[in-house]
Every structure is written in structure tokens, then in C-alpha cells.
């Protein structure tokens, strides 16, 4: 069965590189107020396109991701609070 396959829900920390995704929800309870505010100001919101670009080190180190048209660096702990739904791959 094609496109109705269950699309796994992941968070920004586990999202594989270069897989286009959309921001779902953000677990604000895990974030300190200044961090939360900065996250919003950088454009993280439900429905915004997101993509992981670079990881600093295999395990540990921050992540660079594209949010909208901007590139942003985040620590993994913060990335883990952002759940995303992966866009389905374009049909062959």
C-alpha cells in the first residue's frame, strides 16, 4: 500500500540528515523560559518546514538544521523536545 503507510514521528535529534520534515509539537515543559522564547523567535512553530543539515560529532555536539529559510544551530537536548513528522518521500 502506497502513501498511507504510517509515517514515523520522530524528533529533531533523531531525524536523519536531509529528510524533509515538518514541525509537529514542541515539549515546552522541558525548556527553560529564555530557551523557549529564543526557539520561538528563531521561527520554530507547528507546520514549519525543517531539515537536519549537519551534526557536529557522532553522538554529542550541536546540530545545524534548516528552519524555514534560515539555518540554526541547536544543542541536542533542545532538538529532542521538537517532534516532527517526516514528509513522505516523493513518489517514484
Amino acid at each position: 500500500m502506497p502513501a498511507t503507510d504510517i509515517i514515523p514521528s520522530m524528533n529533531l535529534e533523531t531525524l536523519p540528515r536531509h529528510r524533509r520534515a515538518t514541525v509537529d509539537t514542541i515539549d515546552w515543559s522541558q525548556l527553560a523560559t529564555p530557551e523557549a522564547r529564543r526557539l520561538r523567535e528563531l521561527g520554530f512553530d507547528q507546520g514549519v518546514a525543517v531539515e537536519v543539515l549537519h551534526r557536529a560529532r557522532l553522538g554529542g555536539g550541536p546540530i545545524a538544521c534548516r528552519i524555514g529559510r534560515m539555518t540554526v544551530a541547536l544543542r541536542r537536548a533542545v532538538a529532542a523536545t521538537i517532534s516532527v513528522s517526516v514528509d513522505p518521500l516523493p513518489a517514484e
Partner: protein, 621 residues
């Protein structure tokens, strides 16, 4: 006399505000300070189309009116009329990055809602077009309700139209300011609502859009690669430090020759006596010992400014973040700490961009441990006098290794200090690291030159005032009262007696009276220690053999190797710099933290020098 109207430039960071500011004001700009805070105030003059002058102010970049750092607080205060010493602006130029409307429009909407006359500069449209993004400014105008002018600041496109629009805006409206919505937590809803509205407007104004071009991504694939990235960073740092040493040799020689010439001229023109001694041994020697560092500081800052302007610095901070987070710092602290290798004074000022208070404080407290250029003459002379010039490995000499070891000692010390401070005095949650990574850009020569000039000026002003004054005071302490024949001036003078007192404290770590005496003027600036040691010997000997060559011989004769090593270790840690203490007081708004910094650094210097001395003695050196 009436003051000209005030126009403020506001916008997100990385929107190209400063380039636009430079384009509008040309060379007629100056840098000052906002009263009570340590944020810089950049202002300039602009003549409107009808000849009226306005004062243009470039406000610090901010993401919203809810401030996260002292910089952002100033921006918020200025546009709401709450900033001490600044009037409410008569108009705002809101600068947005055409490639990032989603984000930049949110702040623009907040600013427009304040009710001041606004013109929006849609900046960097050329970069947007190159990236495949075509916008319709008319749609933006309709949605925002204010004039929108496309600009390319670096090519001066749109400047005339912007000026024309300002001519129409300034002084024309008498609009009452709409009340700023109170930030009582409902600001969060506002941000989300504004963000969605911003995104909707951006979408409406986009005529055509292709996916974001990949070349930035390719550069980052190299710069941020898990293996190549750190190697590239280390290579760049190595090149940087290497250049600092080799490129500065010639200019240092010129400056030294210049001061020698001045010294000679004064000696020839004036009769022997106190005034002449004050000028030559006091002011010229003291100030000269400091100004000679200008080349090294400028070269290091040249690299730092170029790397920052190109956008690479953020990538360097990204790579360093893992290491820094392990000692409780943020990758953002990398830039101030790197600057501190030139001089801790601008390094400490650069901590203004660090948002978390505890993080910023910790960075300030460890900045003096970065081996600043002022330590180099002390290291050079002691290493030259006491460490044999032996080759340890091909291309690696013992002297070079000791120098490298001293650098590393400072860095390791800083990390250990950060770790301990974060657990005790500046305890707090581990600060985050969240940064926008701007596109790579070609650094603009003119902006770099302006940045270098302002740093050179700050440094020379410091040399001309604080250090000159302190050197004169210390010269006086050393020269009076005059010792009767047969008694050593170095012991008889006021400074000498202070040194005798200090000697009691520092004798256990291997320091002698000469060292205790030299440390006093070295409080003005570290590099003065060398001049001071020279002066100590010169003042007691009428033969004018105070050149470095004989200074080295004198040192070898009077100091033991363990003493020399302990002296080196002392200089790694000791806060021998009044300027650093002064800037720490300014940046932390009080004496508490500078006092703490001085205390813990002297204590560490004492302990470490002591350990070095006794270890060297027991090792039979």
C-alpha cells in the same frame, strides 16, 4: 540649540543593518556609550533631501522587543523611549533580510505596532534573487501599511529612495504613540500569532521561489564535518597565531625605533634632571612598552574580524560547543575568549553577546587566563635568558616548547576555572547554545578597516591614559626619596619599601626583592614588568647599559632557574593589568566581581608559582 531629529535603525541580527548605516552616513559616524550600560552607541549624520540634518543611530540587532541580553534591552528601551540619555526616535528604519522574511517580519510587525513613523528597508534583495527568491515589495507595503524600499546596502542600491522616504516621514506626522502591549507572559501568544502573520505576509509577497541554493550547504559540509571541521579550525588558528608572531616583527621594530628616537630627542633637548627622567624613564619607557603591542593586537583582530564578517566564526563556535559545554560554557564564549588572546579588554567587552548572565560572568572571569599579547615580552625575555636554545625534535626547539606549554597552561587553567566556577560561584543551569548561522559572505574591506581602527583607538587611548598615568605614579614611587650615596635606590624609595614588605610574602615561592619591586609597576600592564626590571637595574647603575642584552646577563646572574620558572608560572595566572580590572568593573556594574577575579587569580598564581618553584628545586634544576 535644537537637536536634529533622531532616526533609529532597527532589525534582526544579520539583516545588514550596519552596512546600510554605513551607506547612509558615510564616514560621518562616531561610537560612544549609552549611559549606565556598556553597550556601544553608533551614531552618524545624514542630510535629508531638503537639507535638514538628522542623527542616525544604529541600534543593536534583536529578535523581538522582549530582550534577552543587554544589547537587546537597549534596543527595546530606545524604541519605547525608555532609554536613559536617548530621546524617543522621530522615525524608524526597520531593516529586514529579503531572504528571511518569515523571521524578520515578525520583529518588523512588533516595531510597526509601536506607532512611530516607519520605513522598511528590504535589504539584500540581490542575495535573495541569486538564491531564486523573487519578492513583490508592493504586496509588502499593502500588508504592512508602511513604505517598503528594496535595498542592497553594499552596492548603495535604494539609498536615494530610502532617503527620500525619510525626508517625507521625519517631522511630518504628529501621531501619538500607541501603547506598547505589556509583556506579562501573554507575549508568548503574541510571538506565535505574529510569527504566523509574518509567514503569511512573506508567502503573499513571494512571486517565485526555488528551493534554497546549496552552495552554503556545501561549504558547511566541509566546515562542520566531524573530522575535517575541527582540523580546519585548528589549522586556521595555527595560521593565525603564526602570523601574529611573524608579521608583527617588522612593525614592532619600527615602533621600538620610533620610541628610541623620541627618547634620544628628549635626552638631547633637555638638561639632566627629574623632569627629563620623568619623561624618559617614566612616560616614554612605560607607554612605549605598551604601544609596541599594537601590531600583534591588530593582526589578531584582523583575523578575528575577517572570520566574523565571513560568517565562519559561528561555525567555529559550533565546533567548540561540545568542549565548552563540558565545562559549563556555551560555544558562544569562543569568540570573546579568542579575542582575549590579543587583549582581554576587548575580549571581556565582547561577552555582551552572551545571553545567559552566569555564562557571561564565567567567561569574563576566565578571560584573563587566555595568554594575552602583553605576556609575551615577559615570556620572551625570561625564556631567552634561562631556557637553553636546544633542538628537541626536528623544527621544535626547547624554547618554543616552553612557550607553547605556557599557552596551554593558560587554556587548561581557564577550563578548570570555568568548571569550578560553574559549580560554585556562578552556579546555574547549563546555558544553551542556539544561534542563527548566517550565510557565508565576502568580508567587506571597509567594514574591517573601521573595526580595526576603532580597536586600535581604544588600545591607544588606554595606553595614553591609564598606563601613562600609572607609569608616572610608579616612576615617582621608585625615584623618591632619593637614596644617599652607597644605598640602593631600589630599596630606599617608597616603591622599594613596599617591595621589601611584599618580598616577605613572595619569598616562599622563590621571588626576590627585584621581582617584588617589578611586580608593582607591572600592575599597570604586564608588559611593563620587563621595563620595570630594566629600570630597577638602570636606576642603580649610572652606566647606561640598560639594553636587553645586559638585562639578560643581569637576570642570569641574579635569578636561579627555579625562580625564573616560578616567575613564568606566576605570569600565566596573575591579574597584572589594571585595565582588565577596570573593564570588568564596568561590565559587571560593581566591584564585587573584579575583586573576586583579582583574589582568585592571585591566589592561583601564588600556589602555582610555589609548586613550580619547589618542584624545580627538588628536581635539582
Amino acid at each position: 540649540m535644537e537637536m536634529p531629529p533622531l532616526v533609529a535603525m532597527v532589525g534582526n541580527p544579520n539583516a545588514g543593518k550596519s552596512a546600510l548605516f554605513n551607506a547612509l552616513t558615510g564616514a560621518r559616524q562616531k561610537v560612544g556609550n549609552y549611559p549606565g550600560v556598556t553597550v556601544e552607541r553608533h551614531s552618524g549624520r545624514l542630510a535629508l533631501d531638503d537639507g535638514r540634518p538628522v542623527e542616525l543611530v544604529d541600534l543593536p540587532g534583536a529578535y523581538s522587543l522582549d530582550p534577552a541580553s543587554p544589547d537587546e534591552r537597549v534596543t527595546r528601551n530606545v524604541v519605547t523611549g525608555a532609554q536613559a540619555g536617548e530621546r524617543l526616535p522621530d522615525a524608524l528604519v526597520v531593516v529586514v533580510d529579503a531572504s528571511n522574511l518569515d523571521n524578520h517580519l515578525r520583529f518588523a510587525l512588533q516595531l510597526i505596532a509601536l506607532g512611530l513613523p516607519v520605513v522598511v528597508a528590504l535589504n539584500m534583495v540581490d542575495l535573495a534573487e541569486r538564491d531564486g527568491l523573487v519578492l513583490d515589495p508592493a504586496v509588502l507595503e499593502a500588508e504592512l501599511g508602511v513604505a517598503v524600499i528594496p535595498t542592497v546596502a553594499v552596492r548603495r542600491r535604494g539609498i536615494e529612495q530610502l532617503r527620500a522616504q525619510l525626508t517625507a516621514l521625519v517631522g511630518a506626522t504628529s501621531g501619538a504613540m500607541r501603547a506598547l502591549r505589556p509583556s506579562d507572559g501573554s507575549i508568548d501568544d503574541d510571538i506565535v500569532t505574529l510569527q504566523r502573520r509574518a509567514r503569511a505576509i512573506a508567502a503573499a509577497a513571494t512571486i517565485s521561489e526555488t528551493p534554497v541554493r546549496r552552495w552554503n550547504h556545501t561549504l558547511d559540509a566541509v566546515a562542520l564535518h566531524p573530522l575535517v571541521g575541527p582540523v580546519l579550525l585548528v589549522a586556521l588558528l595555527f595560521i593565525m597565531f603564526q602570523a601574529v608572531f611573524s608579521w608583527s616583527e617588522a612593525p614592532i621594530g619600527w615602533i621600538e625605533d620610533g620610541f628610541t628616537a623620541i627618547d634620544g630627542a628628549v635626552k638631547a633637548a633637555m638638561p639632566d634632571g627629574f623632569l627629563r627622567s620623568l619623561l624618559t624613564d617614566g612616560v616614554i619607557a612605560g607607554v612605549g612598552a605598551v604601544v609596541v603591542f599594537l601590531p600583534q593586537i591588530l593582526i589578531l583582530f584582523l583575523f578575528i574580524l575577517v572570520l566574523e564578517a565571513s560568517g565562519y566564526m559561528v561555525r567555529a563556535a559550533f565546533l567548540m560547543d561540545r568542549l565548552m559545554s563540558q565545562v559549563g560554557l556555551s560555544g558562544r564564549a569562543f569568540i570573546p575568549l579568542l579575542s582575549s588572546f590579543a587583549c582581554a579588554v576587548p575580549g571581556i567587552m565582547a561577552t555582551r553577546t552572551v545571553e545567559d548572565e552566569k555564562d557571561r560572568l564565567t567567561t569574563i572571569l576566565i578571560a584573563p587566563l587566555m595568554t594575552c599579547s602583553a605576556r609575551l615580552p615577559v615570556y620572551t625575555i625570561i625564556i631567552g635568558a634561562f631556557i637553553p636554545a636546544r633542538q628537541v625534535l626536528p623544527f621544535v626547539g626547547l624554547q618554543g616548547l616552553v612557550l607553547l606549554g605556557l599557552y596551554l597552561m593558560g587554556i587548561v587553567g581557564a577550563f578548570v576555572a570555568a568548571l569550578l566556577l560553574r559549580r560554585t560561584v556562578t552556579k546555574g543551569e547549563s546555558s544553551g547554545f542556539m544561534m542563527e548561522m548566517p550565510k557565508y559572505q565576502m568580508p567587506r574591506l571597509r567594514d574591517i578597516a573601521i573595526g580595526l581602527w576603532s580597536r586600535a583607538w581604544i588600545f591607544l587611548k588606554r595606553a595614553g591614559t591609564t598606563i601613562a598615568l600609572t607609569t608616572v605614579i610608579l616612576w615617582a614611587l621608585l625615584s623618591f626619596p632619593q637614596a644617599p650615596a652607597g644605598r640602593s635606590q631600589a630599596e630606599y624609595s617608597v616603591a622599594g619599601r613596599i617591595a621589601t614588605g611584599l618580598e616577605v610574602i613572595v619569598r616562599p615561592i622563590g621571588f626576590n626583592h627585584d621581582i617584588a619591586l617589578a611586580l608593582i609597576p607591572a600592575m599597570a600592564a604586564r608588559e611593563v614588568a620587563v621595563a620595570a626590571i630594566g629600570t630597577v637595574y638602570a636606576i642603580d647603575h649610572t652606566d647606561d647599559a640598560a639594553g636587553e642584552q645586559s638585562l639578560v646577563e643581569r637576570l642570569r646572574g641574579r635569578w636561579s632557574l627555579p625562580t625564573a620558572l616560578a616567575f613564568l608560572m606566576w605570569f600565566v595566572f596573575a591579574p597584572q593589568c589594571i585595565s582588565t580590572i577596570a573593564v570588568t568593573r564596568r561590565e559587571t556594574n560593581g566591584w564585587r566581581w573584579p575583586a573576586f577575579m583579582v583574589g582568585y587569580l592571585f591566589a592561583t598564581a601564588y600556589v602555582m608559582a610555589g609548586i613550580t618553584y619547589w618542584a624545580a628545586v627538588f628536581a635539582g634544576l
